[in-house]
Symmetry: C2
Subunit: 230 residues, 2 copies
Amino acid sequence: MSDAPGAARPAVVLVSGGLDSATCLAIARAEGFSCHALSFAYGQRHEAELRAAERVATALGARQHRVMRVDLAAFGGSALTDRGIAVPEAPVDGIPVTYVPARNTVFLSLALAWAEVLGAQDIFIGVNAVDYSGYPDCRPEFVAAFERLANLATRAGVEGAAPIRIRTPLISLSKAEIVRRGLGLGVAFGDTVSCYQADEEGRACGRCDSCRLRREGFEAAGVADPTRYC
Amino acid sequence: MSDAPGAARPAVVLVSGGLDSATCLAIARAEGFSCHALSFAYGQRHEAELRAAERVATALGARQHRVMRVDLAAFGGSALTDRGIAVPEAPVDGIPVTYVPARNTVFLSLALAWAEVLGAQDIFIGVNAVDYSGYPDCRPEFVAAFERLANLATRAGVEGAAPIRIRTPLISLSKAEIVRRGLGLGVAFGDTVSCYQADEEGRACGRCDSCRLRREGFEAAGVADPTRYC
């Protein structure tokens, strides 16, 4: 709790425990928001990222951090929620099997529910459409469509409340730019876990697409990579 | 399980246990879909409606019925998820406190996730914008915006998969028309529970907005009302 009650505008910030969402949270804080951090236990391969999300939220001064359970593994259909599907360790064409059906739609919907109750106009999500895995729900057109939906789905659409904004400060940055931006805002990237199949200590495999994007980002930024590998 | 595997196109059908969604499921079945019924334990006041949903899904030949837990009561902000807010027993102006922030957005998002995994193009939801409580997320413009989002959020938007359709067969019917339609399709409305504050036996209060709309629907349809009241 770093703000006095009522001192700052509230925002909901999706925090996965990875590098991008940590930087996104730091940006929201730098803009002066009182940040309500939201993470999901959705049946992902490991919960090390949830412990990382807790560290990140605390270190970056979130007002509170909440972990919601929503069992996307009951549906499966992704290497991240079905252990019967291997995480690819080489680039693939098209949408990879690590895509989790409708994940960002589900996460933003729940962020929207919380935002409406909090009276928050701003929802931050650290999606990126440059150095990314090609997921459909990271693209600017997806975000624009969700924002439009949000303003029809809620009181904002009927009672003239202030409109909901889906804030994506990273969407057009390269991974190297995200790394530099985060470092400039004091993000301790050693706290974060990006790997799709980290061990329970949060040590990365070094081979999956998320590890590759992260490693290349640090290299291109010319800064030391604090990632702990298995 | 009323279909041989692969015999019919799959659809996801949201089933709340109430009158409207039961009729919606009956319509989907009458159109020949293999129906995957989805209900939510979201922190509502009573779980009698979930038992009703199970009865309805079984009686109307759903291929399977799944209940997902997603704790909207953690956010509160509605008389249906916060027992500190009373359910109104007289009509109100504007959006009533029984509105649950972003509920249909959350439910449709999770239906979308399941639909994508199942390879289902069709998602049925029994929203109605005639005899309804004025919730923003029951309006045709909300549904159209969600359908547009769904086709940007998923593989359909990138890989040219068959588009997702949000099917709302009840949206422009009066409650009396819904009752007649349901009866014509063999819905046993005695199985359903509409009341916002039913007791654990599923007996209705007879005073809330949902009870009022239901009672007026049966009266206008000129058919016996099988509702059990407290």
